[in-house]
Symmetry: C2
Subunit: 337 residues, 2 copies
């Protein structure tokens, strides 16, 4: 499944890029397993696009176990045998109006520690697909989320609202008090369904990447832009770096287990920027994005500023990932497709 997804996403990216070609690296991990990294750098449309698959196994230190598992309350002492297979991708386009996409679907299994051979093994699925634009286009966000919802609904109608909220909670840059992007779906530690069903679900999600993302790219890749637009995109890329290096579980897991650094950090953008105390002008397009990324925690409806108002219009309810759900849930009924 992960090889098929890698092939189809890379083909779609190359076709849309029109110029760049993926370069493939096959690598093996000293501790066990290996992977295939494909990277397209400095293409016509994408600045950096990485699509990696890996199958790794071995012994993981306890800190890595905590990084790998969201709810690691079952603390195990000592190294734990593990197996992990997954696909992971980050696609950074050049045009500041074309959004970055990240997706990752993985299966994880841990065995009992060597000193407790009777303990049960554990398995779980994790993953998600999420969109990180530098500028908001309502129709793009709506399209992206509706494809995620369709994929989820084929399996369980509770998945989309649940995994959409999880996505908003996960891609949160705590020290900034802002989301990395405009969400999508995210789940982890998923094992309370049939294993085959979850594999089909993860496959469906991976297959939804191309229809969710490529039409947005086709629409935005040639939009004219100024140096100011580019500088804003670069600042947002800086936030992407902050999230990935400080919070992202996949990245921290990889760094702690001695994963292949170039494959792990291919998620970082080609270029990024940090300006001291940069504040977009109120009401600007840049400000509108920031306003939607800032957590409206504990904010009553009445305090909503104009730029987020469309979140509370029912037909737009699936567009923006967090403002809406955080305020209305759990009283808001499941969205009907």
């Amino acid at each position: 499944m992960i090889r098929d997804a890698q092939d189809s996403v890379c083909q779609a990216i190359e076709a849309a890029d029109g110029g760049g070609k993926f370069k493939e690296d096959v690598w093996s991990r000293p501790g066990g397993g290996g992977g295939i990294s494909r990277v397209l750098q400095d293409g016509a449309v994408w600045e950096k696009a990485g699509v990696n698959v890996s199958v790794v196994y071995g012994m993981m230190p306890p800190e890595a176990y905590r990084a790998a598992k969201a709810a690691a309350t079952d603390q195990k002492p000592g190294p734990i045998p593990f197996f992990a297979a997954g696909i992971s991708s980050v696609l950074h386009p050049k045009n500041p109006f074309a959004p970055t996409l990240h997706f990752n679907y993985r299966y994880f299994e841990t065995d009992a520690p060597k000193d407790a051979p009777g303990a049960p093994r554990q398995w779980w699925f994790g993953g998600g697909t999420d969109l990180t634009p530098a500028y908001i286009f309502e129709e793009d966000v709506k399209h992206f989320h509706s494809v995620q919802k369709s994929a989820c609904d084929k399996f369980d109608r509770t998945f989309y609202p649940r995994f959409k909220k999880w996505c908003d909670d996960y891609f949160y840059i705590k020290h900034r008090g802002e989301r990395r992007g405009l969400g999508g779906i995210f789940f982890d530690d998923l094992n309370d369904y049939d294993q085959e069903m979850l594999l089909s679900f993860a496959t469906e999600c991976a297959n939804s990447v191309v229809p969710a993302y490529i039409p947005i790219i086709e629409k935005r890749k040639d939009t004219p832009f100024t140096d100011q637009h580019k500088a804003w995109q670069q600042l947002r890329r800086g936030r992407y770096v902050e999230f990935n290096l400080v919070y992202d579980r996949g990245t921290t897991f990889g760094l702690k287990t001695g994963g292949r650094i170039e494959s792990i950090l291919v998620s970082l953008p080609l270029t990024a920027r940090w300006e001291y105390d940069h504040k977009p002008q109120e009401g600007s397009e840049e400000w509108k994005l920031l306003d939607c990324l800032h957590q409206p925690k504990g904010v009553a409806l009445i305090s909503f500023s104009g730029s987020c108002l469309w979140n509370i219009v029912p037909e737009c309810s699936i567009q923006l990932p967090f403002c809406f759900l955080e305020i209305f849930s759990p009283s808001f009924p499941a969205i009907e497709s």
Copy 2:
């Protein structure tokens, strides 16, 4: 002391820059205390130069205590009252041949937890000054280290070799297996000397920043460079970001204690770059830097490549911070000035 150091460094930077002026922000911390951040952005010589002083106090969570203290074996449960005062600075020049400088000197005090009022309070000094060039100039590294050594030698002749090694060990990007830069001095948890003496020592170190750094900048700021030189500098800036966000104790402490984000992250460069699997050509100037940043752990003398050979020439022994000491210590005698 910290205000005086801020003034003198900022004056020297402005004079050398010739164009840029520092912008000052005075801020207060909701939990207690505040600071003065001075930032010069997009100057003639410096891309981004930040010199911050802060005096903060309040209650710190246990994770923050671990981040603040290098050897936090004395784990305290629950929040701990703390006081911290310090100066911190990162100076990123534009010219790829002009090195980045970081320095930070701080005093820390923790009180007993509220639920254990009898426990002893603790205090310590920490800090250091280190140089991160994108290209090696032997004479620059030698000059920089000799000023650090002179400052140390005024107080204790064991300081320089000890704090130089500590610096090399601290500024280590573990997942890359490479040092961030070419070292300097670094110390933490220093409390086994008279408190006044350590304050004088930290003051002397802070006063050594200008004579150690500015002459190098004067020499390199106008060196002609190509796009390739600039791209290499940008890749090294990416490494700087990796170290600061993943490992730096000051940064992680700040993020965990809800410090002022813009002051903490002013250490990040204005721009940075990540290319997939970038490998400089063997023997190139870029390769020479990398070769010296890679840890020669367990490497016998015989395997030394040409670019590091000058480390083992006695008269150059204080130039490059790690290759030499790691191989010869503890048998190598203290360097005589």
